[in-house]
Amino acid sequence: MSSAGKSLPHDSAVGHVTGRALYLDDERPMLGELHVGFVGSPIAAGTLEAIDATEALALPGVVGCWTAADVPGHNLFGLISVDEPFLPAERVDYVGQPVAVIAAETPEALAAARRLVRVDCTEMPPVLDLDTAIREARFLTPQRRIARGDAGRELAKAPQRLSGVFRSGGQEQFYLESQAAIAYPGEEGRMVVHSSTQNTTEIQGVVAEMLGRGQHEVVAICKRMGGAFGGKETQASLPALMAALVAHHTGRPARVIYNKDDDMCVTGKRHEYVTRWDVGFEDDGRLLAIRFEFFSNGGAFTDLSPPVLDRTLLHADNCYYLPHVELLGRVCYTNVPPNTAFRGFGGPQAMAAMENVLESIAQHLDVDALDIRQRNLYGVGERNVTPYGQVVERNHLPEIFTQLAESCDYRRRREEIAAANAASRLTVRGLAITGVKFGISFTATFLNQGNALVNVYMDGTVQVSTGGTEMGQGLNTKIQQLVAEELGVDPRRVRLMPTSTEKNNNTSPTAASASTDINGAAAVKACREIKERLAAFAAGELAKQTGESGLQPRDVCFADDAVFSTHRPEHKIDFGGLCMAARRSRVDLGARGFFATPGIGFDQAAGQGTPFFYYTQGAAAVEVQVDRFTGELTVPRADLLIDIGRPINLGIDRGQVIGGFIQGLGWATAECLLYGERGELLSHSPTTYKIPAATDVPPVFNVALFDNDDNVQNIRRSKAVGEPPLMLGIAAWAAVKDALAQVDSAASRSFTLPATGEEILRCLSLAPQTAPQPSAAMPDG
């Protein structure tokens, strides 16, 4: 019996649909538990003069207010560069930056108290946009560079050359469960922190440092998150620190639940980018040389911006072979919350920039963009080395593009669309196929490790704990299946436990799409160890029962909730019975597995290496329709084809593909972060920040998996699926660019991402004539 490969429901599905799955704010409050919140900086940049909580503290039910001076240990944090204060003492760097922590007996008292704390500051001129930061050279990091050949020389020589500036906007993660933490003070200053985090080890570390304690005094736990998408990789820390600080000072449990507005106002998002590009190519569109200069908006602190930028540089090629290439990148400082991880992690910005270049070349040469793309795809056995020197092995891009173009009827629809556009003065349609080649592994090589604890009980049931956190992606379910398959038991015997630093130490964040790969592999290793011991024991038991002589451990088979000898499969010992007997014979039924991804490594300084274990590849064909008078966009059809190897759980993986694509569609066509003149976020709730709704799902939506079982190096020949599909959403943007070009080339040239109605109408208005002069009023084709 094999449970892996089946579409088992999510292990919390019944809890989800009944409301019995508990998130942090659903936990019953403990006696004396406090409600904790923060007071934010009123300005985007300046110095703190005074924080006056007198009035707030006078309110009934308000317990205390703490500032930088009350932090017992470290007050400065950061994974890459230690530059972000938990509570600033002097300088404030963005509107809403927490400067004080307040605790109260009730949510109402907390809300009232937060409004009464006076924060006096001296304002300094903030840097509020990326262009200013670039102009004033306000950089958070030194320049990163990856290069091959001589891009400068080849650009100058190229028969065709285009250049421009491409902009892509930021994106809010918009997980539905806001940032949350509850701290329970323990004995002798110890602390247990429950956090909605992708990274329990990080929470453990920052809380310990802030309290001035060893990591062994702090336990961080995450049972589940109501979504994360990267937004809880580093940024779950501030609320956890707030809760821990209050628990430390009061000795009472302390709960921090951000409301949606606060969450959106003070947490980091996907980085906005400005990208300068310069490309040289043959008359047939074949790329000769390219230079990209990426500027990302890092916000006020370093956070994860450097690795995000690294991934941008490592994905600027996307699916295409770049003979001569120079990739440069800088992270810019601005006075907004530090931008951070978001599904794709710098990849989307790079791929969109590249797809924009290809779309521009196609429009310039008046050649179908699909032809341009296919001419430039990485080859098989040739033209297959990335700018950073990794060989693109087992490359299926050419087949994926061909197969998708056929299955979506690309060529015929092209003609149909051209005819429709000629006939309609009201609408214009566009179509594009774009691809994705996403490298799997953390680019910081050391993070590619994981451990798992597997405990088998006397009744043959199993608990598994890993450092991977469950945010909805189905990690727990997939590991449950892998463990069940390995032990030959029904998956209902296997339960994944909340992620806790008590059971899994020194873990990596659940990120980079690699969590099933890493944690699943570690769990399987632990299972194999247990199986080895059990097999030795079972061989003896089976021999005793059947009289079979010379039975070896390797002859013992684990399947169907039982063990049996391969020679006499009809004689079984029930798995539970075996475990009971094994325990009585003092066989160890627990193990810890460790996995480190082999064969990867990247020299950051040289910009060369093999940073990725493998690539997940795919392509999307998206058709759009634009209203020529209002800029309103609809997406009538999308076809996806993606290679995720042999899925461990088809239902879950399909959900990742669809969910990722729709999120990417949101980034590429709709979601918009808008700031006021003083640097305050204006679009800070779903009323003003619009993620895709059900009616934004294309009416014709075909999702297919590319048949592939050659990903031999990864667990069960599967492939990571979390992030890659997001970038398929770029096809929608490219299709709008295609539609604009069909109106007029002037309309499409300066087109930025996202393709909001406002942006589309701006571009349409650049066309010499919004619509051709009428011969007669014509029915809308």
Partner: protein, 484 residues
């Protein structure tokens, strides 16, 4: 006079008074009842995570009609005589209803945080018979956001659930007993008093219009609460509940929609859901816009008077009301008067409503065959979004010449405005594209849009300019199509 409300929650009777009656329904469920399956994300009606079903007696009094609402923006004092069903109450303990089972089987949940809200809306959709096709499921779920799934597997779960049979809520909670208890409550006037941190609050929820008007006469400063889809958001975001509230939800006289002699009559608290349904055939263009008004939860709660009195320049009903020359009926203890809608707004959120006056109804002349009417709603997202720009254009044409023009534009100034310069260009002009270009230019000159989070001033001005030619092409196109 009763000093408490009586509400049934998952079949259980709750008598609620004092400060608890001032809570939002979601707070009451989560904090007082421990029913934490109802999730809170936005507290502003814009995500549906907090969706519950509210049952009220049907018109024939035989059963309960369950409608989805956002419990984060509904107050307890508005729920007297209703049956609230939360996710904990839709199935027999220990079992799943068809929607829940299908959501499990079809991978309809990922992180699960949105899931109870979806389950509630979907359960509600299946109460009143089938749900047509995928498009109908999508439309029914526009009030629920999910960031994880991309919706497809939820839609598949809907289709799957529709194929299964499952206990309806009227079967699970036999109506007779509930109806008897509810009807026994209907006659009382209710007055709630509760002490909050900022002092004493009083809510009156009378059963009759006369009682409401008497109260309003005595307390002209009272805030009227209807669907609370505007007020609820305001209270949640400011943390301030008005000290004195008049809730109109129990006044049966104000809840009607009827058509008489080509005029649509709406009671003040007619919900958008009711008006949407009533206009399907008699005003399809208005119906089409109402289809995109909020989401189902908002339309089930929000009322026409609330939309008018909220006075937003981007209220979606107003362009239609303006071009059809609707009249607002207002009543005070002194009597009733009617105010033409285009005289109802004196400035940004300033109404021609006298102290002590309540909006009691709206009369909207319906378009006739002679009217060429188009309504426009431009928003960032198609559904569940507040407009950036709205427009209504109504013309009459005789022998190729425009004989009547009424144009209303929203989102381009402090109130919805009649575009009188554009109307002047249109009237008497030939029905041709140049006329509409000129009208667009004239309109663009007479509006003063601002830049805000929904769009820049220049974008709005461009929309004003373009909408006229769009209108021309669309109506000319349908004329051509009609001729074919």
């Amino acid at each position: 006079m009763r000093d408490s409300i009586v509400v049934f929650i998952n079949g259980q009777r709750h008598e609620v008074r004092g400060p608890a009656a001032l809570l939002t329904l979601s707070d009451y469920l989560r904090r007082q009842c421990g029913l934490v399956g109802t999730k809170i994300v936005c507290s502003e009606g814009d995500c549906g995570a907090c969706t519950v079903l509210v049952g009220r007696p049907t018109a024939d009094g035989q059963s309960l009609d369950y409608q989805p609402i956002d419990s984060c923006i509904r107050f307890m004092f508005q729920l007297d005589g209703t049956h609230v069903v939360s996710v904990e109450g839709i199935a027999e303990p220990g079992s799943l209803n068809a929607v829940q089972q299908a959501m499990v089987d079809c991978h309809g949940s990922q992180c699960g945080f949105c899931t109870p809200g979806f389950v509630m809306t979907m359960t509600g959709m299946l109460q009143n018979g089938g749900v047509g096709d995928e498009a109908a499921w999508k439309h029914g779920l526009t009030g629920n956001l999910c960031r994880c799934t991309g919706y497809t597997q939820i839609l598949e779960a809907g289709a799957e659930a529709a194929r299964q049979s499952s206990l309806t809520l009227n079967e699970r909670y036999p109506a007779a007993e509930l109806l008897a208890a509810i009807s026994a409550l209907a006659g009382d006037d209710v007055a709630i008093a509760g002490e909050l941190a900022d002092g004493e609050h009083a809510v009156t929820a009378p059963a009759t219009l006369a009682a409401a008007l008497e109260f309003l006469g005595e307390h002209p400063d009272a805030t009227v609460a209807a669907g609370a889809t505007d007020i609820g958001v305001r209270v949640n975001k400011t943390g301030v509940l008005p000290y004195r509230l008049l809730d109109v939800n129990r006044i049966a006289e104000l809840d009607f929609v009827s058509v008489d002699d080509g005029v649509l009559h709406c009671g003040a608290r007619a919900s958008w859901a009711a008006i949407e349904e009533a206009t399907t055939e008699i005003a399809p263009e208005f119906h089409r816009i109402l289809n995109r008004f909020g989401g189902p939860q908002i339309r089930a709660a929000g009322t026409i008077a609330g939309n008018i009195a909220n006075g937003s320049p981007i209220a979606d009903s107003l362009p239609f009301l303006f071009v059809m020359q609707a009249e607002v009926e207002t009543t005070s203890a002194a009597g009733t008067r009617t105010i033409p809608i285009d005289q109802f707004y004196l400035g940004y959120k300033q109404l021609a409503l006298e102290p002590g006056e309540l909006i009691t109804g709206v009369q909207i002349p319906l378009p006739t065959a002679a009217d060429q009417l188009r309504l426009y709603k431009i928003s960032r997202r198609r559904d569940l979004d507040i407009s950036t720009f709205t427009a209504g254009i109504r013309l009459r044409v005789d022998a190729g010449e425009i004989t009547l023009a009424r144009v209303a534009l929203g989102g381009v100034g402090p109130t919805v405005v009649r575009a009188s310069a554009a109307e002047a260009v249109l009237v008497g002009a030939p029905l041709e594209e140049a006329t509409f270009r000129a009208a667009g230019d004239a309109a663009a000159r007479e509006v003063a849009p601002i830049s805000d989070v929904r769009g820049a001033a220049e974008y709005r001005r461009q929309l004003v300019r373009n909408i006229f030619v769009k209108y021309f092409l669309e109506t000319a196109a349908s004329a051509t199509a009609g001729a074919l």
